[in-house]
Amino acid sequence: MQEPILEVNHLKKYFDIRGGVFGKKVGAVKAVDDVSFTVNEGEILGIVGESGCGKSTTGKALLRLIEPTEGEVKFNDQDITQVNSEEMRQLRRDMQIIFQDPYASLNPRHTVEKIVAEPLLVHGMTNAKERKERVKELLEIVGLRAYHASRYPHQFSGGQRQRIGIARALANNPKLIICDEPVSALDVSVQSQILNLMSDLRDQFNLTYLFIAHDLSVVKHISDRVGVMYLGRMVELADKDELYENPKHPYTQALLSAVPVADPDETGERIILQGDVPSPSNPPSGCPFHTRCPQAMDICQEVTPTFQDHSDQHYVACHLYE
């Protein structure tokens, strides 16, 4: 019934740390360390986790904007880690990405027209008049006006720039969009405008999103299923209501309890974690969370728990459930 559009198996991305006079490899940052999940056609899969846990690296590795170190990324059953660059270029038409900072990702010297038309040109829409029409159509789809086409990015507010980024991503009717913190830089009132727009577009064009964010309320609002990452690993993944109402992994429990809720009557127990997130260049042995886990046991220091289906598609990597 639900067809996976994207299937990620044992994805790893290690960045070399080089040092010394000869720039020899002295270690590695394990930014993404053995992550597996699927994204079904038409669904929104949210990915949450704290800064540096590997969310963006995962997103970029899926599109091969950075080369994965290991693992398989199947898009419509084709392993894209194995295709050549021309095939990859063709695939990128179907797989787009939107970034957090809409300003940094838009060329300040180009007009909106040029920015949005560029992917059309790359994928063979050579007729200038046709492109102009399509740009106009796209701007209207994302809630901007046709006359905005002749303006430059700095003439727009943050929310409007994010709309431009979305218009560009939509240009070639993609199937999958990786959204890397698309609303994190926006004010609340503008954030809700963009979230609504993204939901509408998903319905209208039957899009699939991988939605990366650190704000748990935002991710809950927009996603169908949610995955939680910690230190380069996926530690829990489930249907969103299941995950938020019945979190199993001690890290997810702490994360959810730490979110301040804008309601003075909401006085839930807070689990205050001790210490900082360890460095991904030297992750703890065994379970990567054991240095901060309130429920750590002896085994946790030695054996890495496997990420497995605990019940009904509720995946968790923790010895408490093995």
């Binding site: 004010d187 309320s217 804008a262 003075p264 205050i272």
Partner: protein
Amino acid sequence: MSDTILELNNLHTHFFTDSGEIPAVDGVSFHVNKGEVVGVVGESGCGKSVTSLSVMQLVPSPPGRIVSGEINFKGENLAFASEKRMRQIRGNEIAMIFQEPMTSLDPLYSIGNQLVEAIRMHNKMSKKEARLKAIEMLDLVGIPRASEVVDEFPHQLSGGMRQRVMIAMAMACDPELLIADEPTTALDVTIQAQILDLMRDLNKQKDTGILLITHDLGVVAEMCDRVVVMYAGQVVEEGTVREILKDPKHPYTKGLIRSLPNLHEKEQKLYSIPGTVPKVTMDSVGCRFAPRCEYAFGRCFSENPALYETEDHRYARCFLYDDFEEQEVATHAGTDSRS
């Protein structure tokens, strides 16, 4: 009145730029009582930081300048105080922590050196004693390996650790008022929870008043006694945290609260306030929120609303509450939740 430690009275801080004069803080009034946590909320650019920098006289000048108004701190007006006087106040009677603690820690000195200096300014102690005290305080704010970290430099610490050092610093000088401008915005939620916990301890144990500037209504709900809501340089309403979050009066506050995705509720579509925060100039007329307000009517576009009293004796800068024979309230009204 004696328990009020900080009182802003009709404060105006403007920027004089090439493209004209910008009233970034445009007649702001509110107060903080001893031991109270007061939140200032609003979207980016609404003047929260400029307000707090004004209190410390740290507004970048030029182009900025306090134009008029009062900043009464324990009865002394700091609005036009000398730099010499301000240096006595800053970091002593009023401590400040910023969003990016790197800007307030000196990169050239070790954490210990900076703490020792702060401690010795307030206590008669030898360097050696102060160093031990510094380690104790780092430990107290939850820094692991405190006896090593004391000799490390700011760039060697994570964002959360730096913010904890700033809090240790603030605690060292035992201030009466702590101004915290988005102290946890750059931090992850689990680290944020630790920092908020520390600030709450400081408030409870030492009765330190806190002016907490944030755009996060969740943080407000968790920390504050009272809340001041700002929009485009002005206070639009003020109340206890419960009043503001449960029964907002001003259309902007209402919209802001409705726009939040809620962790515990299922909503299909989020409410959203159309448009964006306007750029305010000296000749802006009408209610600043009018272009985005679903209740706006004729008068909203031509007159600037004052603070009006609502039926339940609160105040909101909105003509909707001006139905009691136009009884206008003086500029400083709305700040008095004590009477």
